[in-house]
């Protein structure tokens, strides 16, 4: 077992622990911070695959921006822990359904003949220009459409949050 393998196990186990903490904690701030840690370890896994760009974006977008806003909302709402202690049956059924589906999907994937390594198998290089250039050439239309979708969502949020806007 070389350093690479050891780090892989360290990051993976840490990610699983963080993932469990996200749903197990009663305090939403703890959950949010666990999720931040989880993203950091996931970035570590990307670094092991030498996908530095993905690792950086992972931290920049999710840990640095999205989760900060989550934390913001949690703190401003100041949810009481007692409200969260109630078990909602609808939530439980939904969670079981979704996680069951996920387990079934993973099982289906694992049944496939083993792929040695996603990166090596396809001969993918994950450098900056390898990731970015196709976005501006091959996948130009999908990128633009996604951008339009995001813009529409943003305008929608502004409209909804300013109800008295006439």
């Amino acid at each position: 077992m070389n350093v690479h393998d050891i780090l892989f196990w360290v990051f993976s186990i840490a990610m699983l622990v963080c993932g469990v903490m996200v749903i197990a904690h009663r305090n939403p701030v703890n959950s949010a911070m666990s999720l931040v840690l989880l993203f950091a370890f996931m970035a570590g896994l990307f670094v092991l695959l030498e996908a530095f760009f993905l690792a950086t974006i992972q931290v920049l977008v999710y840990a640095g921006a999205v989760m900060v806003l989550f934390l913001f909302v949690i703190m401003l709402l100041d949810i009481r822990a007692s409200v969260l202690k109630r078990l909602r049956w609808l939530g439980l059924v939904g969670a079981l359904l979704v996680s069951g589906l996920l387990v079934w999907e993973i099982q289906q994937v694992l049944r496939q003949p083993a792929v040695e390594s996603a990166v090596e198998a396809k001969g993918l290089a994950l450098g900056l220009s390898d990731v970015v250039k196709p976005l501006f050439t091959q996948y130009m239309l999908p990128v633009q459409l996604t951008a339009l979708l995001l813009l529409a969502a943003m305008v929608g949020v502004v409209l909804l949050s300013k109800r008295d806007l006439q």
Binding site: V29, M33, V36, F52, F53, T56, I57, V59, L60, A63, G64, A65, V68, L69, L71, F72, M75, L76, G127, L128
Partner: protein, 343 residues
């Protein structure tokens, strides 16, 4: 093993020099302030007061570490000052301190981590610094820190956008995100501040907002918020916030020097190309540090010159002035670059 040793030495050197500069920036701040207000300033500890940082450090360590009873979460309360300090120490890893240092047959590159995603790495790690402030404000569980924390994080998130957008033209022109190569480009061509002056101005102003310095230091506006997010902190925990601010200032200064003022290069004969001898290599490090110290001085200079902005003025400046300006700047720069390449 040799490689590992070189890396460890580089890390130790960079962190050591950086923390030394951070400690002395605090003293410089007091000196410059005294000078500008026609006072004498600290001059009691050691000759001319140069041992003042040591005395301050000892004082911080020996003060009682008060943990107010109303603190909501002890763990986050303790960890928050560390989170504000650490990103500055990590981001400095991708800043090029010099070109090469040819020592004993090794050609040591003047940067700890020569990452191709350089600047993105800096923004990614720097964006984590907000957690320290948010958590400090929330876990203190009293109104002034909470208001200060909310203000500060809103400010940092807003100006992160300006900061990120303002440097895009720089990297479009240099054609690389690797900071060492950006400096090399400037050594071979010209300093980017001459080509991208608007970028530089917006970057500098945003950096002031991002490091919570005057004229944008309203998160800790004493008159309205007592001390802002660090009101409830004492002893070394407060010192960590304090040093974190100066460490962030150091990184911002180093970035201004690197991105816009040629980093380790000077436009004269032996200093405008990567070093081949040790003397030139060391001179490069000296040039880089001199430029960084100059920008640290500008930070202090501005603090004792300009009054503080109002909160709404700050937000208006960020979202309604800087964001549109940077986007226009990106558009114009890309058109000019495309015309110059093809025409």
């Amino acid at each position: 093993m040799n490689e590992l040793l070189i890396h460890l030495l580089k890390i130790a050197g960079v962190i050591g020099v950086m923390l030394g500069i951070v400690a002395y920036t605090v003293l410089a701040e007091r000196w410059v302030c005294a000078w500008m207000q026609d006072r004498i300033g600290p001059n009691r500890v050691g000759p001319f007061g140069i041992l003042q940082p040591l005395a301050d450090g000892l004082k911080f360590i020996f003060k009682e570490d008060v943990l107010p009873r109303h603190v909501r979460h002890k763990f986050y309360f303790t960890v928050a000052p560390m989170i504000t300090m650490v990103p500055a120490l990590i981001t400095v890893a991708v800043v090029p301190w010099g070109s090469y240092l040819p020592v004993l047959g090794h050609n040591i590159k003047g940067v700890i981590a020569d990452l191709d995603v350089g600047i993105l790495f800096i923004f990614a790690i720097a964006s984590l610094g907000v957690y320290g402030i948010v958590l400090a404000g929330w876990s203190s569980n009293s109104k002034y820190p909470f208001l200060g924390g909310i203000r500060s994080s809103a400010q940092m998130i807003s100006y992160e956008v300006c900061l990120g957008l303002s440097v895009v033209p720089v990297f479009m022109q240099a054609g690389t995100l690797n900071l060492w190569n950006v400096v090399l480009y400037q050594a071979e061509h010209t300093w980017l501040v001459w080509c991208q002056p608007l970028s530089f101005v917006i970057f500098m102003v945003s950096a002031f907002a991002e490091t919570n310095r005057t004229p944008f230091d309203l998160p800790e506006a004493e008159q309205e918020l007592v001390g802002g997010y660090h009101t409830e902190y004492s002893s070394m925990k407060f010192a960590m916030f304090f040093l974190g601010e100066y460490a962030n200032m150091f990184v911002a200064s180093a970035l201004m020097a690197t991105l816009f003022f040629g980093g380790w290069s000077l436009p004269v004969a032996p200093l405008n190309a990567p070093a081949t001898t040790l003397a030139v290599g060391l001179a490069h490090v000296g040039v880089f540090l001199a430029k960084t110290l100059f920008f640290l001085f500008v930070f202090i200079w501005v603090r004792w010159t300009l009054p503080r902005f109002r909160y709404d003025q700050l937000m208006t400046l960020g979202w309604k002035v800087f964001v549109p300006l940077t986007i226009v700047n990106i558009l114009v720069s890309s058109v000019v670059l495309a015309v110059m390449e093809n025409g």
